[in-house]
Amino acid sequence: MLFNSLSFALFLPIVFLLYWFATKKSLKIQNMLLLGASYFFYASWDWRFLFLLMFSTLLDFFSGIMIQESATSAKRKFWLWLSVGINLGFLGLFKYYNFFISSFVDAFSLLGFNLDSWTLKVILPIGISFYTFHGLSYVFDIYNKKIKAERNFIEYAVFVSFFPLLVAGPIERATHLLPQIKKERIFDYSKAVDGLRQILWGLFKKIVIADQCAVYANMIFDDAGDYSGGILIMGAVFFAFQIYGDFSGYSDIALGTARLFGIDLLKNFAFPYFSRDIAEFWRRWHISLSSWFKDYLYIPLGGSRGGGWMRIRNTFAIFLVSGFWHGANWTFIIWGLLNALYIMPSVIFKKNRQNLDVVAKGKELPTLRELFAMLSTFALTTFAWIFFRSESVSSALSFIRDIFLGLLEKASYFEMVEFSIEEVGFLVPLLLAVFIVVEWMGREKNYAIENFLLKNARPFRWSFYYAVAMLVFIFATTEQPFIYFQF
C-alpha cells in the first residue's frame, strides 16, 4: 500500500475516523488501533514478513527489559549484543548475504580460485533497515541509561511499527516518539490542517516532481551509452530532483499523516539543495539517519574528541556505513566514500559547523557568493548521485567518462538542446522551476508551503492548494513505488 495509491486514500480516512470517533478517546484503544492498522498496512505488501517485524519487536522489547533489569555489566552487555546481533543478523541475511557471497567469490577469482557461488533468492522485507534501526536505537538508549525500558508491549510495538514511518522512516528515537505514544492525544485542528497541507505538498513532490523527473532520469540512465555528455548531465540532474522529490515527498506525507493522529515525527529534510557546503547538506538530507549514525556510531567511536586522525577515521566510518546501509552494492559504498571525501576538508580544517542557519535568512535572494556555493554543493552531490543511481560501478564510471568526453565535443551541446526541446519539452522544466521557487520561499519553515500565502487573501491561497491538488490528480497516472522502499 503506497502513500500515493488509491488503497491508501481509502485506508487513511478509515483509520482516522476510527481513531478519533470509535476509540472514545481511550489511549489504550487508540494505540491498539494504530498497531492493528500498522500491521495491516505492512501485511498489505507481504504478510509473511509481518512475523519478522513482530519477532524483531518482541526481541527488542524483552532485550530492553533485560538490559535494564540485569544486575551486572556483563549481563547488560550480553542482552545488548544479543539484540544487536540478531537484528543485524536478519538485516545481513536479507539484505547483504548475496552481496558478501558474490564479493567473496569475486575476490577469490581474482586470486585464481574459482569458488561456487551460493547465492539465495532472498526477498528484501520492506522497511527492514528502518525498523531495525528503530529497535537498535531503543536498546542502545536503554543500555546508555538515557531512557527506561518500556513495559507496555502495545505502546512499544506502536513505536516500532507506526504505519506512517514503518517502511521508509523517518528513523524515530524512543526518546522522541514513545512519550507521545504514551500521552493522551487530543485532536488539534490547526495541527491536522497543517498535516493535510504537508501531505498535499509531499504528494506534489512525489507525483509531479519525482515521477516526472524519473521518466527522463530512467530514459538516460538506462541507455546511457546512447547519449552524449550534455544529456548525461541532464540525466544526473533529473535524478537529483527525482530522489529529493521522492524521498522528501515520502517524508512529508509520513509527517503529515502522523500529525493527523496527533503525533509529531522527526524532521527528515530541510531543503538540502539550498546548502552552501557538504556538511550543511548532510545536516539537511535524511536528517534522522545522519543523526542516528552520529549518535550511535560517530560519537561511540570517539567523535571529534580524539584529534584530527580520529575525526577523519570516524567520518569515513559513518559515510561508509551510511552508503552500505542504503544497499548491498559497491555503488552505494562509493557514493558514501565520495561524500566522505567531499566533507573531509571541512572536517580537517574544522569548518564543518559553518552555515548552521538557513541560507539568506530573512532575505528574498541569496548573494552571488551564496548562490555559487549552493550551485557548487548541488553539483558535487549530483555527481555522487551518479553512483547511487547506476546499476554498477563500471556503468557509473562509463557514465562519468562519457560526460567529460561529451563536454569536449561541440555536437554534444547541440544534442542537449535538441533533447531538451524534443524529448523533455517545457512542462517539466516549468514545474521544476515553480517547485524550486516555492521551496526557496518556504526554506525557513518546516516544509515549503507551511506558511505559504498564509498572509494573502483566502481565495488566493486556496487557489494555490487547488492548483497543487489538480496537478497531483493529473500526474497521478500510475503508482510509482518510492525509491527508499528498496532500502
Binding site: L6, F187, V193, Y466, A469, M470, F473, F475
Partner: protein
C-alpha cells in the same frame, strides 16, 4: 473535529470536481478539434487487433490504411470507426478483423482489463459516451480511475502541445521480425485460460459493439467486410472453430467474411502461431493488393475468389 472533516471533504470534493471538469472539458476540446489525416490517400481501412495489425503492411496496398492495434476489443473499434467516419469522407470500405479469439465471452475482458484500460482509455476517452464509461466503471473501477488520470494528463499534453492529429495514434501496421513458430509449437498461447471442453458463451459486450460498428457503417453508406488474417495451422484458437462458425452464421450471416486463415505461408514467415512477421506480412499484403486490383470486392462469391487465388499462388 467536525469542522476539519467538513472542510477536508469540501476541499476534496471541489478538487475532484475541478479535476473531472477539466477532464471532460478537455475531452470536449479534443473531440472538437481532433483531425484524422492519413499520410496517403485511402478509401479503404482495416481495423482490428494484433492479427491484422501484423499481417497487413499498408505500404504495399494501394488506397488502404491499416489502423489495427494489438488487443483491440470491438468497443474501441467502434469508437475508432466513429471518429474515422466523422473525420474522413473518403473512406468507402472498412475491413474489420473477425478472429477466433473475438467471439467468446473471454474476449470481453479486453475491454476493461488493466493493461487494455490503461492503454486505451487515455486514447479513446475523449470519444467515449456515457455507456462506454459506465461499462468500464462497472467492470474495473480501479483501473478506470487510473486511466482517467492518464487521460487527463494526455489531454493536458495534447492541448498544451496543440496536437490534435489522431492518424498516428490509432494504430497501424506493426512490423515483427521474430520467427518463433518453432518455439511456440506445443506450447499454449494466450488462449490457455479458455476451456474449450465446456460449452462456449458468446461475447456479450464485444459483439454488441461490433453490431454497433456495422450499423454505423451502414448509416454512413460504408461497405463492411469481416476479415480473418492468415493464421498458422497449429494456432490454438482454432479449437473453437465450430463455435466461431456458429457465431458467424447465426449473427453475421448477411455479412461477407474474407477468410485468409489458410493463406500459404512458411513457418519462417510467421512471428508466432497467430502473427505474421514482416516477411509474411509483405507476402500477404502484396497478395491482398493484387486481389483487390483484380476485383475481389466486385466479385460474386468472394471466398471462392480468394481460395482460387490462394491455390494459384501455392502451386
Amino acid at each position: 473535529m467536525k469542522k476539519f472533516i467538513f472542510q477536508t471533504a469540501v476541499f476534496l470534493a471541489i478538487a475532484l470536481s475541478l479535476f473531472v471538469l477539466f477532464k471532460f472539458s478537455s475531452d470536449y476540446w479534443i473531440r472538437k478539434n481532433a483531425t484524422l489525416n492519413f499520410s496517403k490517400k485511402a478509401d479503404k481501412v482495416v481495423i482490428g487487433h494484433s492479427h491484422s495489425e501484423c499481417a497487413i503492411n499498408d505500404s504495399k496496398i494501394d488506397g488502404l490504411v491499416n489502423i489495427s492495434q494489438s488487443g483491440e476489443a470491438y468497443m474501441y473499434t467502434y469508437l475508432k470507426t466513429r471518429l474515422l467516419l466523422s473525420r474522413n469522407e473518403d473512406i468507402k470500405t472498412v475491413f474489420i478483423e473477425f478472429a477466433n479469439n473475438q467471439v467468446d465471452v473471454h474476449s470481453d475482458r479486453k475491454i476493461w482489463e488493466k493493461k487494455y484500460v490503461l492503454a486505451r482509455y487515455p486514447a479513446f476517452g475523449p470519444f467515449m459516451g456515457m455507456k462506454e464509461n459506465e461499462l468500464l466503471i462497472k467492470n474495473n473501477f480501479q483501473d478506470y480511475s487510473r486511466g482517467f488520470s492518464l487521460a487527463a494528463r494526455r489531454n493536458f499534453n495534447f492541448i498544451i502541445g496543440g496536437d490534435y492529429e489522431y492518424a498516428g495514434k490509432m494504430g497501424g501496421y506493426k512490423k515483427l521480425t521474430k520467427e518463433e513458430v518453432g518455439e511456440e509449437l506445443g506450447v499454449l498461447n494466450d488462449e490457455k485460460d479458455v476451456d474449450y471442453s465446456k460449452n462456449m458463451t458468446m461475447s456479450k459486450e464485444g459483439l454488441a459493439y461490433l453490431d454497433k460498428t456495422l450499423a454505423l457503417c451502414e448509416e454512413n453508406d460504408v461497405k463492411v467486410y469481416l476479415i480473418r488474417s492468415p493464421l498458422h495451422s497449429k494456432y490454438p484458437g482454432f479449437k473453437n472453430e465450430e463455435f466461431y462458425q456458429q457465431v458467424l452464421k447465426s449473427r453475421y450471416a448477411d455479412l461477407e467474411l474474407l477468410d485468409f486463415k489458410d493463406f500459404p505461408l512458411e513457418d519462417l514467415e510467421y512471428a508466432d502461431l497467430q502473427h505474421l512477421n514482416y516477411r509474411g506480412a509483405k507476402k500477404f499484403s502484396l497478395f491482398f493488393d493484387d486481389i483487390l486490383k483484380k476485383g475481389l470486392l466486385e466479385s460474386g462469391n468472394k471466398q471462392d475468389f480468394i481460395n482460387k487465388e490462394m491455390a494459384r499462388i501455392s502451386e
